[in-house]
Symmetry: C4
Subunit: 209 residues, 4 copies
């Protein structure tokens, strides 16, 4: 299996799933209304917009992670191909828990469904990484033991936060949302400073000149 076509297909699924999220931000029949009614409708759409923004960034985080992992892959075999399709299945699923979150931010079941989906995706992330590290024929030489440990350290933060979010939702949904936001902030602001991303920039620079 050609790695480029796998990446192109994966990027397609990511791009569609991330953009379909906006279809959850629907407002009820809006014709022939006045400013006051429209304002009311827009304010009530705020949780939907929040869920859209949050889920967009979440899929963004997974897309960045996917890109990083596959930059360590030299060639794709059938098991890796199917692990990736399973991974994409849960990426494509995200708009569903996101639509539930948009309507019911503060219910335990919502949080469990949402964090459960994210936990599954990050576990599949792990499986893909594990599979690559164990198959010498597939992996790029840049993926040394040292880099792998650094990647794992980064990859563990997400599932831990999602488990904490799932457990604490029985105490308070606010604590859950706090943990989910922590994972997001970590991946966006802090994950870029580790050894892996430095290697990736070096490789990219080599490619350019």
């Amino acid at each position: 299996m050609n790695k480029n076509r796998l990446e192109a297909f994966s990027d397609g699924v990511f791009a569609i799933a991330i953009t379909l999220l906006i279809l959850n931000v629907k407002v009820p029949d809006k014709q022939n209304i006045n400013n006051g009614q429209l304002n009311h409708i827009l304010i009530s759409a705020a949780p939907k917009l929040l869920s859209f923004g949050f889920s967009f960034l979440v899929i963004g985080v997974f897309w960045v992670a996917h890109h990083r992992i596959f930059s360590f892959v030299k060639v794709v075999n059938t098991p890796l191909l199917w692990l990736n399709i399973l991974y994409l299945m849960f990426i494509a699923l995200v708009p569903f828990p996101a639509s539930i979150l948009a309507d019911n931010f503060f219910l335990t079941s919502t949080i469990l469904l949402y964090t459960g989906t994210l936990f599954t995706i990050s576990m599949l992330n792990f499986s893909i990484l594990e599979y690559i590290i164990k198959n010498e024929t597939l992996k790029h030489e840049a993926l040394t033991k040292e880099v792998y440990r650094s990647v794992i350290k980064t990859a563990i933060i997400g599932p831990v936060c999602y488990v904490l979010a799932a457990v604490t939702c029985f105490i308070s949904v606010y604590i859950s949302l706090f943990f989910m936001t922590c994972a997001l902030i970590f991946y966006i602001f802090f994950s870029g400073n580790n050894i892996m991303s430095k290697i990736l920039i070096d490789v990219a620079k080599e490619d350019v000149g």
Copy 2:
């Protein structure tokens, strides 16, 4: 016709069709409800999620098959182009029988519609393969008679299972679902071990280094 642009367009249609499947997993109006009501809604969404997962893997199987077939194509002519567009038309159609399946898992008509669609796609698969093998100017030299026989052996399993599923749905829908699952499991777990995929990995390795 440039083969790369054909593949990119096909990948686009595959990626969109596979991701649109999630739009079938809609739940009724969900605002201002409690945990119990949400749990009830989520449980009743289970068949929709099952149909989503199944159809996702089915399109995944066809995507992998499409990729493999076109890795044996050197150049695309007009008839092959239109055979491919016809093929993509039925791929794009899949969300429709999948939405029927999501709502009515156990009706004969559902099974006939669903297996009929999959049978048509796998027959078009055959036609494309046949067309390539018969046109020396189009096909890659890697597609020898021996490889072709191996590909055909793999490609025949699907249509046979779909016909069996269609016939047995008049006895019991469970037997039909069993045959449909058989085809899926075969393609995901066993089709990767044949001669063709070994050749493809060799070619991919050559490309890398």
Copy 3:
């Protein structure tokens, strides 16, 4: 403007528009029904499926034409870029008249809306061709006067059929549908045999070996 990125973006819009057509094939609430009711629903969905198939092939024709035209372009400038975006706007519009056609096959207004859209797209096709032929800096040397005349001869069939379909819909909608089908059949089965496609295959062969 990089030609490859323009083609990739255009292919994206084509692939999405063509796949979104399936969203028009929606059936009413389908849960907890029996085989007879489902059969009835499926039969009443036939015109929707017909509109889906027809519109899928129509967008397919335009995609093939787009690909052929841009294979004669060496470099893209700003006016050509915006002509192309205008062209894509009408491609993205197709699901709308297609959804009207799906529900009301035999109304004059439906036919006028549908053929009007197709006529506009084919006229934009012409404008793009005209613009390329008149700008020496943009066009590929393979686009000679002779090739251009052949391309124009092919490109004129569509708009002529659409005008005939629009005019005859006041007599009988069946005659309109006949002319629309004529255009489709011509492009799928006969347009591939002209001089242009032969040149394109030659170029593609050169690329390969």
Copy 4:
């Protein structure tokens, strides 16, 4: 981060967001009606079609701008990656204000929501440009101070028009729509003549021959 994969992903989001706009052009239940009723439905769909066309061109303008900016990028680092994802989030958001605009063209809240979205996107545009110009390691040598000033001059027109449109909507919505149209016309017809686009065509020509 590989620049090509970032561009491919961005193009995907642009292509999907721009094509999803057509889903806003929905008409009420259309089955079993006559020509008069259909005409009435189509006429009442005119504002939706206008909003579709306008929003399509607006996203088109941002796509062209995105392409131009990233042609000055040599290599992508993590902050630029996340600025781009934030930018894409607002591009994916456009179908929402566009759907509100489709139904309520002449309400102050509609105009504020729509211009607010466009203003945010153009401000993110600025941030990306600023970030690139300040990071010597990322930027292409073609992005000189002179080119940067020319790009900034072009990029300032949009936000100014959107602010004017937002302010004037309290006087008259027609003035707002006039300013929004001004920005569109400027970018489509006049922005292509500046120094930057000349450089880009030179670069593209070099690529070809």
